[in-house]
Symmetry: C2
């Protein structure tokens, strides 16, 4: 039987370890007896639609291995969601045209919840349009909001970045608070789920440690309660360190900071809740403040990645190929947490239909009663995910990152496809 | 001869490695045959004025060693500048009262340019007020603006943090730019001197690498030229990454982002130039943007400290004690760069009178002709300072930081001193 080629694409916001998943897919496919070449979509699914494919077989073994320590999306990612077959049949026909031209029988899609939906639609192309293809979703999202999987690859690293960074900054604030900054606000990502905000809580090891307040998107912001807690911390410890989720919102659902613009998925583009909270503290309590918005630094901070997260990201990439070899379709490798006291994980299988468009929120029992901190349950869940410092080679003082050739696959189709 | 005790204090904004200098002072003093105990000022010089001293002899050897990997100011720092003797004789009399009560004959002051001025005033107490004391300044500032010394301990680490962070974030932006963020702005510290902004330039290794634009405080901001360059980068590379100094200003001297409030030294408190620039790009060119303000994260990022910087910070601490043992006064250990091709450094001696209140700006030949980048001269100066990854112990996924006892020295004076 002739080998079919595979298509691999990165989708949505990238992470510090999404390229480790790419390495997992490509290395496993190179070892595979059923998969031919792996063609990566340049800029994600757009590369498939525009027949802009990258021939990963042209990359050296060392270059693919270097993906394990390269943040960002090495082949380009995109925010582009396929519409329903009914609404946009043209796009699906084009996908099949490109897949057929390049003999693609496997579709590996590396993304979050929205991407799982796209992957599910592709997995149904045999039924809906008669093109035989196996579609496997490779989980990834810093937001940790994918269902079924115990955690989402990419999250452990941003969690570690966040916990370490707020701890370090808090030591800075603590040392200066007698005469300078008393309130420090750090904004973290997480539109609808407060997983990253919760991870900031790992910085706290003893009573009095920062962060003193976490503002979750899950808990309606109560200004009076918040200000009271700030004042209490300043009085008791001399300073107050706050982690706030970009998705923090009032009771009526409006975001504390709403930039107004929206992305391709219709999500509101947020940013800047930290200065809003800091200004509130200044206006109401008069304390000197500083604020930080690490933004992309947090999700691309490969230099501070979790070794556990890195291994999981790599493992789901390899597992996707194994699933394909086993003839599976419309599934996603999921991280399964062991039942024992000591943290252990293995790879399970999740049906895509149960993953697509489902958002996993933080359980309420992960958030402390007053709504401003994490519980022991949250700590027990989160702490294993930041274990280990992922190896990171440096040269001449700077990290070594993969520099790929990104050689294009010769186009076989005539005419252009505009997206 | 009876041993005199030493007073050590941290002053001004802290760094990722200022505690390494503290470890250097304390460890060298413990080895010394002329210095008794080291009393640290709680919250800097304020601790001396209020007789709030910390007995460092109560800290274990391991705790002092752990200062080498603990960011922030372990004994507390402050922004408090002693006025002239003529203006505020009361403060100097109080200092002498406290020093005499605790038999202090050595004054180690760990700070930047403003602090050097305070240290100089203390060094003159023998002449001006008849109290014999040797005052040695221990250099520290992320701003790298101290004169005479080749670099300021603290700077190499923030430089490394900045170069690595903007490189990582740029990989993120690059991978998404086809359909998402095209312009990314990262704000860095540096009120009057663009040293940290320049360090961002180290992320660039090849033509086309980020950052594509650096906005220095030394170069008056030219909006038209800036926007043109943004547009060129977006056109050529698909995206544009910008490093901007918090001190970026217009031709007339006004800051691009001016928060309006001032600190104890009369400096304007800045912050938020990144969103201002990002909004400008959006308004004028329409590109989707993201911005980051790492703020304290950059100067407390001990997990990403430069090994070279750490060793220099420790060395100036030890050298200060050696100077004291040699009977010196009103001096500062300075980093001296070797003349050879290969980077080497040693400790020299700088007279405090030449250090106090002098700000070292970037030489114009460190900034590219168009004002938006760094030159080979800048690279040759900066690159050695970020060499080596400073060892950082982790436990249970988090960094291990010193937890000091901070045991107070029993007060000997009656009455309170209000500052």
């Amino acid at each position: 039987m002739a080998r079919k080629n595979a298509f691999y694409a990165q989708s949505g916001g990238v992470t510090a370890v999404i390229n480790a998943s790419a390495a997992g897919v490509i290395e496993a496919a190179r070892d595979s007896k059923v998969i031919g070449k792996v063609y990566a979509g340049r800029n994600g699914i757009i590369g498939a639609l525009t027949e802009d494919l990258i021939d990963t077989s042209k990359e050296s073994k060392a270059a693919i291995a270097a993906l394990r320590h390269t943040p960002g999306g090495a082949f380009g990612s995109c925010r582009y969601k396929l519409k329903n077959l009914e609404t946009n049949r043209r796009e699906y026909e084009r996908l099949i045209e490109v897949f057929r031209a390049h003999d693609i029988g496997y579709f590996f899609y590396n993304g979050g919840g929205d991407s799982a939906d796209t992957c599910l639609k592709v997995s149904q192309l045999a039924e809906t349009m008669g093109y035989p293809i196996q579609a496997i979703h490779v989980p990834k999202t810093v937001d940790n909001d994918l269902p079924i999987t115990d955690c989402s690859p990419g999250f452990g690293s941003v969690a570690k970045y966040t916990a370490v960074s707020i701890r370090e900054a808090a030591l800075d604030v603590m040392s200066m608070c007698a005469t300078s900054t008393k309130v420090f606000v750090m904004e973290v990502m997480g539109r609808h789920a407060g997983w990253i905000a919760a991870a900031a809580g790992l910085a706290q090891e003893q009573e009095g440690d920062a962060p003193h307040i976490i503002v979750f998107p899950e808990i309606a912001f109560d200004q009076a309660k918040f200000l009271k807690k700030v004042q209490q911390a300043v009085k008791k410890y001399g300073y107050c360190v706050i982690a706030v989720s970009e998705g923090a919102r009032y009771k009526d659902g409006t975001f504390l900071a709403d930039a107004g613009s929206t992305d391709a998925f219709g999500h509101k583009q947020l940013g800047g809740v930290a200065p809003v909270l800091a200004q509130l503290v200044k206006n109401e309590l008069g304390h000197k403040y500083h604020w930080a918005v690490p933004d992309y630094l947090q999700r691309s901070g490969r230099h501070l990645a979790s070794a556990t997260d890195l291994e999981q990201a790599y493992a789901v990439g390899r597992a996707a190929v194994t699933f394909a070899e086993q003839g599976k379709n419309a599934v996603m490798p999921a991280i399964v947490r062991g039942k024992g006291k000591k943290y252990a994980w293995s790879i399970g299988e999740a049906p895509l239909a149960d993953v697509a468009n489902v958002e996993k929120k933080m359980p309420r029992n992960f958030i402390s009663k007053d709504g401003f901190g994490i519980t022991d349950e949250a700590r027990a869940y989160l702490l294993p995910l930041i274990q280990g410092e992922a190896e990171m080679p440096f040269k001449n003082g700077m990290p070594v990152h993969a520099r790929l050739k990104l050689a294009p696959v010769t186009k076989k189709l005539k005419g252009k496809f505009s997206i």
